[in-house]
């Protein structure tokens, strides 16, 4: 592998019937990421269950209950590498009741693969997946129109599905959508170009994943540094060292930059940027670094260091697209813990503005109780100010989770609008 190879994270959405497992199996198998002992184990289980051939779903379904029931319960992560990139697949179940898993897998993805069965075209599930991909602002969407072999590799069938999808997706906020006609089973346009569809001029799926431009997926303009912890070694060689440790959430920081610490408002200049014993001139998202400043300022976890001329919004009132993740429904005006970057505060859901029907995209403003898998627009008030950006500007400084203090469970995830 080359030193400049990047990491690309993608989700796969679709049901077993769409050929999702077959597609993942093919990507893993063709990139030599399935090992012989794993394949042997799957083959023997397939035989025991009386399947013809090898059931690739067994490869991704890791829990006993999943294998026994033949369903995917939880997100499974899979890995493969080509000479050009390393890939992480978040394989998420496609059923309606698993919105929370789709949202989880989507939250860190650079790309989403949405599978459409060429015989059935765009169905409700396709719309749901596209909606969640747009809601979570996955930068790139690849619609794979699968089972082209079952529609005689027809260009007309392919075009008609593109039209169906575009009609629907024009209502969504998606920047980069591509369409690829494939047959996961036969391998057409997965790794190798299809000989059966010479009318398709685009690249096969793997080549698309290997070459798509992802360096701009992270905001490199607005410099944001949430402080995770403070390093004070107090040993002989570093007696006065006071390093602010964290992972840069956006933009580029350089030694000498004039910065402001929020929420206190103190200003200073960056003295050093350190990674282990190496001093850097500049650092950028998503690097984990430690930073020292010219002046001795009281800074602690939850504070944010930004440039003086480019600041996030400091506010106690948020409008959030909220996905409810827990069996326990929301309680009206109940208090929750809210976590935003490294900042922990208390918060209250002041108002449910509307709920989305994720199949029709209709808004319902009468139903005010948030239940598992609901996606709603809400107003939240926090006890202390948070330093936030809109989620579409920055996925790190624009996201929050809510925690129920009675159970310590994560009950909701939100995107700031």
């Amino acid at each position: 592998m080359l030193d400049n190879n990047q990491l690309l994270r993608f989700t796969t959405a679709g049901s077993v019937d769409d050929g999702k497992s077959t597609l993942i199996g093919r990507l893993l198998y063709d990139s030599k990421s399935i090992f012989e002992d794993q394949l042997a184990a799957i083959e023997s289980t397939s035989k025991k269950k009386g399947h013809d051939g090898v059931d690739m779903a067994l490869f991704t379904d890791g829990l006993r209950d999943e294998r026994e029931q033949g369903i995917t319960i939880d997100v499974a992560y899979r890995y493969f590498t080509t000479p050009k990139r390393k890939f992480i697949i978040a394989d998420t179940p496609g059923h309606i009741q698993y919105t929370r898993n789709m949202v989880t897998g989507a939250s860190t993805a650079n790309a989403a693969i949405i599978l459409v069965d060429a015989r059935h075209g765009v169905i409700e599930q396709t719309k749901r997946h596209a909606f969640i991909a747009s809601l979570l602002q996955i930068p790139h969407i690849i619609v794979c129109i699968n089972k082209m072999d079952l529609v005689d590799f027809s260009e007309k069938a392919y075009e008609s599905i593109i039209n169906q999808f575009e009609e629907f997706s024009s209502k969504l906020l998606v920047k980069d959508v591509r369409f690829i006609p494939i047959s996961a089973l036969l391998g057409d346009n997965v790794v190798n170009r299809s000989e059966n569809m010479s009318w398709y001029q685009g690249a096969p799926l793997l080549h698309t994943l290997e070459t798509m431009h992802i360096s701009s997926d992270i905001n490199k303009v607005d410099a944001r540094f949430p402080v995770q912890t403070v390093l004070r070694p107090q040993n002989e060689s570093h007696r006065d060292y006071r390093g602010y440790a964290g992972r840069i959430a956006g933009g580029v920081f350089r030694v000498g930059d004039e910065v402001i610490v929020l929420p206190s408002g103190f200003t200073s200049r960056i003295k050093t940027i350190d990674v282990l014993d190496e001093a850097l001139e500049e650092a950028y998202a998503p690097m984990s670094i430690s930073m020292t400043l010219d002046d001795d300022i009281d800074i602690s976890r939850g504070d944010m260091i930004v440039r003086t001329k480019n600041r996030p919004k400091t506010t106690q009132d948020l409008e959030v697209m909220l996905c409810w993740l827990h069996d326990d429904a929301s309680k009206p005006r109940a208090k929750y813990s809210i976590r935003h970057t490294s900042n922990d505060q208390k918060a209250m859901i002041k108002e449910v503005i509307y709920k989305f029907d994720i199949n029709t995209l209709d808004r319902n403003s009468d139903d005010k109780i948030l239940e598992m898998n609901d996606i709603s627009k809400v107003k939240i008030r926090t006890t202390k100010p948070l330093m936030v950006d809109e989620y579409r500007e920055n996925r790190t400084t624009g996201s929050i989770i809510l925690i129920d203090d009675a159970t310590n469970e994560t009950v909701a995830a939100g995107m700031i609008v």
Binding site: G62, P286, S288, S290, A413
Partner: protein, 301 residues
Amino acid sequence: MSKYYLNYLDELESEAIFVLREVWAQFDNPVILFSGGKDSILVTHLAKKAFYPAKIPFPLMHVDTGHNFPETIKFRDDIIKELGVNLIVGSVQESIDEGRVAEEKGKSATRNALQITTLLDAIEAHKVDCAIGGGRRDEEKARAKERFFSHRDDFGQWDPKNQRPELWNIFNGKHFEGEHFRAFPISNWTEMDVWNYIKRENIAIPSLYFAHEREVVWRQESWIPNSEYLTLEDHEEIVVKKVRFRTLGDITITGGIESDADTLEKIAEEVSGMRQTERGNRSDDKRSESAMEDRKRQGYF
């Protein structure tokens, strides 16, 4: 002109350092579970980076089965001295002597499952609220379902079907008294990534990973090292082979592979051509399809 993007190893490193600092910020009493294997050595190296120029601010914990490779114990003691951190040892032998657990019987008996009790006892005795491990999602199918921050109830048990959702990089480590977390900073690394990084950073690892001559016996498709704990069966015979180990566990159950790879470059090259998973040589995972899930539910690493 800078490129302003990270390569895959830098991104994995940055993610792991973020997780380690998040553990330090969210827990009162974390430890690194240190087995002397390459993954826990890697986690320790990343912790050194995460807190430099300060020392790693928490101890290493070793669950000692008593069935060790002598090389591993020496390596452990050297690294403790070098880093200036504390070591906590949980001894399976003591658990046996105290009657907390009983030795397995029969020819395939191991102390592998016995470690669970010792580990949970050590976690309780030292009031550990987060045990950082070197588990990776690519290792095994139950591990593929792990969170970065993984909750354990007050019996130390994992409930894989009822895990906290983990979105973006926001980790919820809130817990009640008596419960603890396991944290897995290198969840997203593959075996190949680990070797490429060890090579790049020139991290010291035990000599057992490099090809060397050793007395071994052929058992369950791999070369099991000769040791005082080994009981030979009638048809088995001890031979000398040039072997190395892909993973390190109990000396009684860790099988070696025949190899000439005696440098990090050669190991990385050899691993990239491997067609078997690294745990394929671990008889603890061969017991059943759910062997790892079952042990993890009870509190295993």
